[in-house]
Amino acid sequence: MRWERWRVPVMLAPAAFVLVILFGGGLIYGLLQSFGWQPLIGSTRLSLSSYANILAGERYSQQFWTGLLLTIWISLASTTVSAILAVAVALAIRGLPRRRRLSAFLLQFNLPIPHVVAAIGVLFVLSQSGLLSRLGAQMGLLHTPAQFPVLVRDRYGLGIIAAYVWKELPFIGVIVLAVLESLSQDYEDSARTLGAGAWQRFRHVTLPLITPALVSSSMIVFAFVFGAYQIPEILGVRYPRTLSVLALRFFLDADLSARAEAMAMSMIISAAVTIIMAVYRWASSRGDMRSA
């Protein structure tokens, strides 16, 4: 009986140990480094100067603020486009009379592809010497492949957004499709018998039912895109760079004192993602309370 009380904590201990040591330990070490604690170069005084440097300093602030804007733009654009297309494709697949399994497979097959591979694939397709530009030149639409618009390694991150949409659309789509498949057709049929058109049925019946799944999967995608670095590293330009790429560059800088700024940026990214997820949890718990 006495052991019964300890059963759950003991079973959770291995997972909790890994989380606390690997994630929590890294976070604390990173936080200390962001405060300037680097015994390797003889710096053991803690201060907020690295944060001041990236927020208002001459060397880092411009890169930081443009990087922050670019990161927000890429995260918002890729999440929004992925979510809209995912809902459209899930609705299209659900309405198919046959070949639904094939279409569902089409939505799932790129889920296990790593982001680095996705970035290189988009580079091969959208670059000025890529598949589409060569096809365009072969078909006579362009005089030379170089006339193809600059869609990768561009200032606005269009190639980065395309790669994220390619990768995240199926993720949101699979979740929305699973929710749609589990919903009864009765709601829509009732709305139809009451005279609701296709758009009204979607707007007032289907969308409210899929919103929780859509919002939660979109939040995961937004948080991931905000902090990920592989795709912007491969498809981005030298300036502006996203925050994660900037943090990595400063971390790898030959000047070891730049590591404090790198860690400060990483802490800001972590804080931003944590705040976004906390706001989402708060909003969803309020929604649950209202619907209860």
Partner: protein, 65 residues
């Protein structure tokens, strides 16, 4: 329950085919990149660099006259 119109079916299938193509396109690009080099642009061998076999006629400290 009404039958979906022909137009709606064309839009639905068209959208799915377009999206499916976009999802598959990077893999086609990978395949083209991987195989085109091997099949259409093979690495030049010694006979491609010296089609007339002139190198064999030249004096060389390694091969002799």
């Amino acid at each position: 329950m009404g039958q979906p119109s022909r137009f709606a079916a064309i839009v639905r299938y068209g959208f799915l085919i377009l999206l499916g193509t976009a999802l598959v396109l990077p893999f086609i690009a990978f395949a083209v990149n991987a195989f085109s080099r091997q099949w259409f642009h093979p690495q030049p061998g010694p006979e491609d660099l010296d089609p007339a076999g002139l190198a064999a006629d030249t004096l060389s400290p390694f091969t002799g006259p």
